[in-house]
């Protein structure tokens, strides 16, 4: 058995896996934020609440309708995404000609309302959700729970699938073009308002998907989103708003950094991302992959 700087491999790889799991959530959430910000120019502060809604939708689908995890994996993001599209049509779409700040304030307010309603209804102690893939494999150097392996693998698939969709397909070329020059794309005959609604729905659906993945790991709790989203915004600041691939790489990378910090210097594990954020802000204010706009 080898040891690294006096750290047993069980602990090291265990934390690495935890880091990857957190990184997966950071990546999916910051990806959704980046897609929304790119096209809508809105910093979606309701993202955490929408992630929480994804977890609750998963729980409710099982509890009230008997829909198992695998059904919720599809249904919850779709339902929460549709809810997002309604928000966009009813409220957000009225703010596009105003400053960024209005969208931010609106989504922040919506997040508070949504979280308040869920707390009112379900309390804040949290609801358990049964692990759909119990058990795990002993790899010798570590124990690998199957569900966590699934979360990491599926998140990678979702992230790179989204990257491929945006960067390599015709549909993605509309999104990229509209992100640059929305008016011109519309003047070519593309129904950009509808595209904006669908894109917001897609970004919200991604947040909800992260919520589905989280339900069996963390307890389903009305405040689960607001705790996570603060770190995700730090991740976004580090990665920069400009790039899809940047959001993915920064998300996973920072999860891993956090995991290693837990092993080597646990005292800093809750703050390391914010320290990195401060450093990046000093050296590259637009973020590692960001472009000034």
């Amino acid at each position: 058995m080898f040891e690294l700087l006096g750290v047993p491999p069980q602990a090291l790889f265990g934390q690495l896996l935890l880091g990857l799991i957190n990184g997966a959530f950071y990546a999916i959430l910051s990806l959704g934020l980046a897609v929304i910000f790119g096209l809508l120019n809105v910093i979606n502060f309701a993202h955490g609440a929408q992630y929480m809604m994804g977890a609750f939708a998963t729980w409710m689908l099982l509890q009230y309708f008997g829909v198992p995890y695998w059904g919720a994996l599809v249904a919850a993001p779709v339902l929460v995404g549709i809810f997002g599209m309604l928000l966009e049509r009813l409220f957000l779409s009225r703010l596009y000609h105003l400053d960024h700040l209005y969208g931010l304030l609106l989504t922040f307010g919506l997040a508070l309302i949504i979280e308040g309603l869920f707390r009112q209804q379900f309390g804040s102690s949290g609801l358990p959700y049964t692990n759909p893939i119990p058990g795990g494999a002993n790899l010798g150097f570590m124990f690998l729970p199957y569900y966590r392996a699934w979360v990491v693998a599926f998140s990678l698939f979702v992230c790179f699938g989204t990257w491929f969709l945006i960067e390599k397909t015709k549909l993605g070329s509309y999104l990229r073009a509209a992100t640059e020059k929305r008016d011109l794309v519309q003047a070519f005959g593309v129904n950009v308002p509808r595209m904006i609604t669908l894109t917001y729905g897609f970004g919200v659906g991604l947040a909800a998907l992260a919520g589905v993945l989280a339900a069996p790991i963390y307890t389903v709790n009305p405040l689960m989103g607001s705790n996570l989203i603060i770190v995700v915004f730090a991740v976004v600041v580090i990665g920069g708003m400009g790039s899809i691939l940047g959001a993915i790489l920064t998300g996973f990378g920072l999860g891993i950094v956090e995991g290693f910090t837990k092993v080597f210097y646990p005292e800093a594990s809750n703050t390391v991302i914010f320290i990195l954020m401060a450093i990046v802000l000093m050296i590259r204010p637009a973020g590692l992959f960001g472009t000034q706009r």
């Binding site: 070329s173 073009a177 640059e180 003047a187 070519f188 005959g189 593309v190 950009v192």
Partner: protein, 237 residues
């Protein structure tokens, strides 16, 4: 001859605003089927604003813009484009996040009968070789070619071209002149914005002079020589 076709585009008493500033003060003109018509005028006269108003890119516009008889003044720009209008902006509007081919294929087909990608490449051979380059890595002339090329595939019959020769070398200006004449032969109708009336004279059927958001004169291309001194005074050249 110039008035032979039906009015494809009829602009009447067009007013337009940028925020609070009232830029167009009642613009009137027509473009007939198969014609090349120019809007001439000094910098800041309102030529670009007129094109942007026609394609629906301004938040506030009033008056009447009939396209094949259909009123478009209250339509959003995507619906206007679907009537068969296509816009090539003054700043060219090439997308940096798209490669040349993606830029070329971006505008959706709005009507049948547009050029195929192959026909477009025959007209603009230099674009094919650069298909995988980032759109904005092209030279200014190539970007202008790309900006024109991409609206030929869409089936739009009325092209709005805003100063396609601006800032380009004489050899490229001549190339663009050839292309505009070819497009006219193929039956496209073109509304061209120009400051360079020497160039406009080589491609257009008729010229409208724009000043301070009004049309102040209309000169048939055949009468251009006779009106040369008047035109020079309008344009301050």
């Amino acid at each position: 001859m110039a008035e032979a076709g039906a009015a494809l585009l009829k602009v009447k008493d067009l007013h337009a605003w940028y925020g609070e500033s009232h830029i167009l003060h009642g613009v009137d003109f027509e473009v007939h089927q198969g014609q090349v018509v120019t809007l001439l005028g000094r910098n800041g006269a309102g030529k670009t604003t007129t094109l942007r108003a026609i394609i629906g890119l301004l938040r506030r516009r009033e008056g009447s813009i009939l396209c094949e008889g259909a009123e478009t003044i209250r339509l959003p720009s995507n619906r206007i484009a679907r009537l068969g209008l296509a816009y090539c902006p003054e700043e060219r509007g090439i997308f940096a996040s798209l490669n040349v081919r993606e830029n070329l294929l971006l505008p959706p087909v709005v009507k049948p009968g547009g050029m195929t990608e192959e026909e477009v490449h025959r007209l603009f051979p230099q674009l094919q070789a650069r298909a995988a380059s980032q759109g904005t890595k092209l030279s200014g002339g190539e970007q202008q070619m790309l900006a024109i090329a991409r609206i030929l595939r869409t089936g739009a019959r009325l092209l709005l071209l805003d100063e396609p020769t601006e800032g380009l070398a004489p050899v490229i200006v001549r190339q663009i002149g050839t292309i505009i004449r070819t497009l006219k032969q193929r039956g496209f109708t073109i509304l061209l914005v120009e400051q360079n009336f020497h160039f406009a004279a080589t491609v257009s059927d008729c010229h409208y002079v724009v000043e301070h958001g009004h049309i102040i004169d209309r000169i048939d291309n055949r009468e251009l020589a006779a009106n040369r001194s008047k035109l020079e005074a309008y344009l301050g050249v």
